[in-house]
Amino acid sequence: MSDQVLSLEDITMQFGGVVAVNNLSLEVNKGEIVALIGPNGAGKTTAFNVITGVYAPTNGKVSFQDKPIISNFPQGKMKKLYSGENNGKYTELIRKTPDVITKLGVARTFQNIRLFKNLTVFDNVLIAKHMNIKSNVFSATLRLNHKEEQTMRKESMELLEILGLAHLKDEISSSLPYGQQRKLEIARALATKPSLLLLDEPAAGMNPHETHDLTAFIRMLKDDFHLTVLMIEHHMNLVMEISDRIYVLDFGKLIASGTPADIQSNQRVIDAYLGVADDE
């Protein structure tokens, strides 16, 4: 088994005639923290949605731990609208649904927080434990699965403690301050015991101080939970400090990839996104 956890090959996502992601190929290896950056609307969240099975790509293949989980090629109406290349390269039709992909070990957070708003903090995490339940609905109803329920609750509580949310466990999740809500989303994602964690703008709405804490936090999560991380982010400090590698998207196309040092000095990226550096 190779070190490759995730690979995207020639992923194109078209909505009608609009090309949101254009021929994107990337890979993430075990234990890396990889960042996906680019101006707003560059197609980053769309890429996440393809990886997690929410959208079927117009063309291309996604593999997780060397096994294909998504594979598609233009059909029907799309055939005419498809403006990309690689025609004929992908012949399989594999479309695993998001819940199956999560069960394989891919967890994600959402750009606009999608907590279970009216449920408590504890329940939000506990629900993420449901996917591995062994008892069927009959034994669960008759409370014959006491042990399993206890384990789920214990693990959920532990996660809340690690993320510093234990004292809020009975609060309704939508009543939490924004930063805590983001943490809760991460706790919930971790509850699914993933090996790959997709973070969509984890630092959104945070001030520089909070962002700094987040850097250490993500590193801690990666080490303690043995994760590989793929992250969409706009806060360049966080990105540059924590990422092993970076991919840059602009208008759906990959325009650069490499280490933080490479990206910082890449003219195309600077033009598209970073702006002119002060000392240049």
Partner: protein
């Protein structure tokens, strides 16, 4: 069955379909704008029938008819203002429940005011006159209905595509919030939509009940639902679609009754709906919309 009889059935079917079409258009317009299945629409249709019963009792038809039309429009707009407007920002389920509540209220109101016994619908002698065109013979109203339906829908489509209020309606149905931000007076557009829908329902009710001859408090419930199905068939949100859906339904029902399966004519409608929702949920003329995550 010989050809003349077959044609006769077709005529009946198209005529019934015309009445259905007018009601279906009302449903589709309201759904297009508010994303609401107006469960009460069929009962507005029923109330229009009763209005005519009482108006005709004391007035000649050429005064009674406009009064019925106006009264129904007022009823429709009133319902929108009192029962749907307060819930505009509530979750979708709430407003649907409100529509069910209004339907419930109207049926009970009709039972209270007019008793549950069927009332005779006034015969507008002019409309009931039997005409003969070739091998087909039917009352004038049967001949008029499809023609009137086509004419009204045509005028409506012209209105939607070439008038200011029509453009406003189209904008609101595409994007409710942005339309508001662009200065469109939402309340007026919505009231206007309900007014037109109710007007068409009133006309439809005149055409429908003239043939049926009796009205009772529940005479709107099932036709109402069937017309919603017709709207879905044609593509919810599409006015020509609703019309086509209405005709298909009218013809289908008549065919079933003619073949002796009248008990299944109601079920047929719903079977058609299920089949439609499975294989082509956007209907005949509908467009696909992808949700953004």
């Amino acid at each position: 069955m010989d050809f003349a009889v077959f044609l006769q059935h077709c005529l009946t079917g198209i005529s019934l379909g015309g009445a259905y079409a007018l009601i279906a258009v009302g449903y589709t317009m309201v759904y297009g704008i508010l994303r609401l299945i107006n469960f009460a629409h069929g009962d507005i249709f029923m109330m229009a029938g009763y209005f005519m019963v009482f108006a005709s009792a004391s007035m000649p038809w050429y005064i009674a008819t406009p009064i019925v039309l106006i009264a129904t429009v007022i009823l429709g707009v009133l319902i929108e203002r009192t029962a749907y407007k307060p819930l505009r920002n509530a979750p979708r389920m709430s407003i649907m429940i409100s529509a069910i509540g209004v339907s419930y209220l109207l049926q009970n109101l009709a039972t209270y005011l007019f008793t549950a016994l069927p009332r005779g619908y006034p015969t507008l002698t002019a409309l009931k006159k039997i005409f003969q065109i070739g091998p087909l013979s039917a009352s004038l109203v049967t001949f008029i209905t499809p023609v009137l339906t086509l004419a009204l829908v045509y005028v409506l489509i012209l209105l939607i595509n070439h008038s200011k209020i029509g453009m406003a309606m189209r904008a609101v149905s595409k994007d409710f919030e942005t339309a508001q931000l662009m200065g469109i007076k939402i309340n007026r557009v919505i009231s206007f939509t309900f007014a037109i829908g109710s007007l068409l329902a009133a006309i439809g009710s005149i055409l429908y009940f003239t043939d049926r001859m009796t009205v009772f408090p529940f005479s709107g419930a099932l036709p109402g639902l069937k017309c919603f199905v017709a709207a879905v068939l044609g593509g919810i949100g599409s006015i020509p679609g609703a019309m086509v859906g209405g005709f298909i339904l009218g013809l289908g029902e008549t065919a079933l009754v003619a073949m002796g399966y009248s008990t299944f004519s109601d079920a047929f409608t719903f079977i058609l709906l299920i089949v439609m929702l499975i294989f082509r949920p956007t209907g005949i003329f509908g467009e696909k919309v992808t949700d953004k995550v």
